[in-house]
Symmetry: C2
């Protein structure tokens, strides 16, 4: 068995290289216009070794979406242990914004998830997981008295996740994400003005303002 | 000249049929997977007569986007003369929601505008026009004292248009737009709670609640 280890390591490296390369290609071109040969070239692997891991373009796309969700989920996990649940959520949105700016695989996964009719397998399970995770965060925020009880955990999650989605998509269409920080700050200003409790609103608004001050580090 | 009129009328009919057929095809499949022969078949026209109006698939897509914007713009134009500018904006969002539910061409135009990297011509001018139109509506709302002066016209438009975009996209991904009315009601509840002035908030919230009560008429 020990003799196989180098092979497995090389295999893991190939798989990772394919995902990173596919992320760059899908980010540029979307699913339909991406070709397997372009992905192999971008990944710097042979077509044969790529096919060993991924028999089809759809298999690659699904693996990119899974990897994107693993990466973005890390940002939300950190929020769950924040002393202020809402500040944790603001920080998570900043961390995901930075992933969008710096990581083509994250951009690709989100893009592929929203392209209806291109993948034959539904990928909205990830969206449901996201909304469930954010709803858990709002449950903590309600318990901490940070958000108004007039809004339910689930409805807040089911409106904040689409709000964030729309803001970064339109930021991309209009400015190539150059204005991502200021438009996310406005999102939080509107959202927190609407749902934060009076005793927490000012502190949360100030946290969001500071979180999105300055300019993005990298427009990748 | 009179002798040409039937020809022009038939030509206008062909052009309209192509746009409607292309709307259905792009709505189902997106740009890359749509074929010219499928569009001609769906439109019930010959390939030759279609090529006469549209030499390429991209020409058809751009015409679909232009027609979608003409149709959705009608909804916003009505808002400009409403006695309450914010109620007019709520009603416009309901009218566009109904177009999204009933009109494949509207769905297709919005989908094509958001697919980066597929059309070689930028289509974000329409987005800018939209944001400018909505900003004009917020200018009226500010003058009428309906929204807080803490938010600017442009920043409100630049956040409401993406919010609406994200809400209807995620509604499509999660439920095929079956929950479009309730998620738009939540959008307005969060948004108006955040930006409406105290003296107008209750009336505007009630207007939005009634505007999205009941169930969508058609899931097209």
């Amino acid at each position: 068995m020990a003799a196989r280890r180098p092979q497995q390591t090389r295999g893991h490296h190939t798989r990772t290289a394919v995902l990173e390369g596919a992320g760059r290609v899908f980010d540029r071109s979307g699913f339909s216009q991406a070709s397997l040969s372009e992905i192999a070239r971008e990944a710097g692997v042979t077509a044969g070794s790529m096919y060993f891991f991924f028999p089809s373009k759809q298999d690659i796309a699904l693996a990119v979406i899974a990897e994107q969700n693993a990466r973005t989920a890390v940002a939300l996990q950190a929020a769950a242990t924040a002393s202020s649940p809402m500040r944790g959520l603001v920080d998570a949105s900043r961390a995901i914004a930075d992933q969008l700016l710096a990581d083509p695989l994250v951009r690709a996964g989100i893009r592929l998830s929203l392209e209806e009719g291109t993948l034959s397998v539904p990928t909205n399970g990830y969206y449901r997981d996201w909304i469930a995770g954010v709803a858990g965060q709002f449950r903590l925020a309600h318990a901490a008295g940070e958000v108004s009880p007039a809004f339910g955990d689930d409805e807040l999650a089911l409106t904040l996740v689409p709000y964030f989605t729309g803001v970064h998509l339109v930021s991309n269409v209009l400015t190539g994400r150059a204005d991502l920080y200021p438009v996310l700050e406005t999102m939080w200003r509107v959202f927190l003005s609407g749902v934060a409790t009076p005793e927490h609103a000012a502190g949360l608004l100030e946290h969001a303002r500071r979180g999105f001050a300055g300019r993005p580090v990298a427009i990748g």
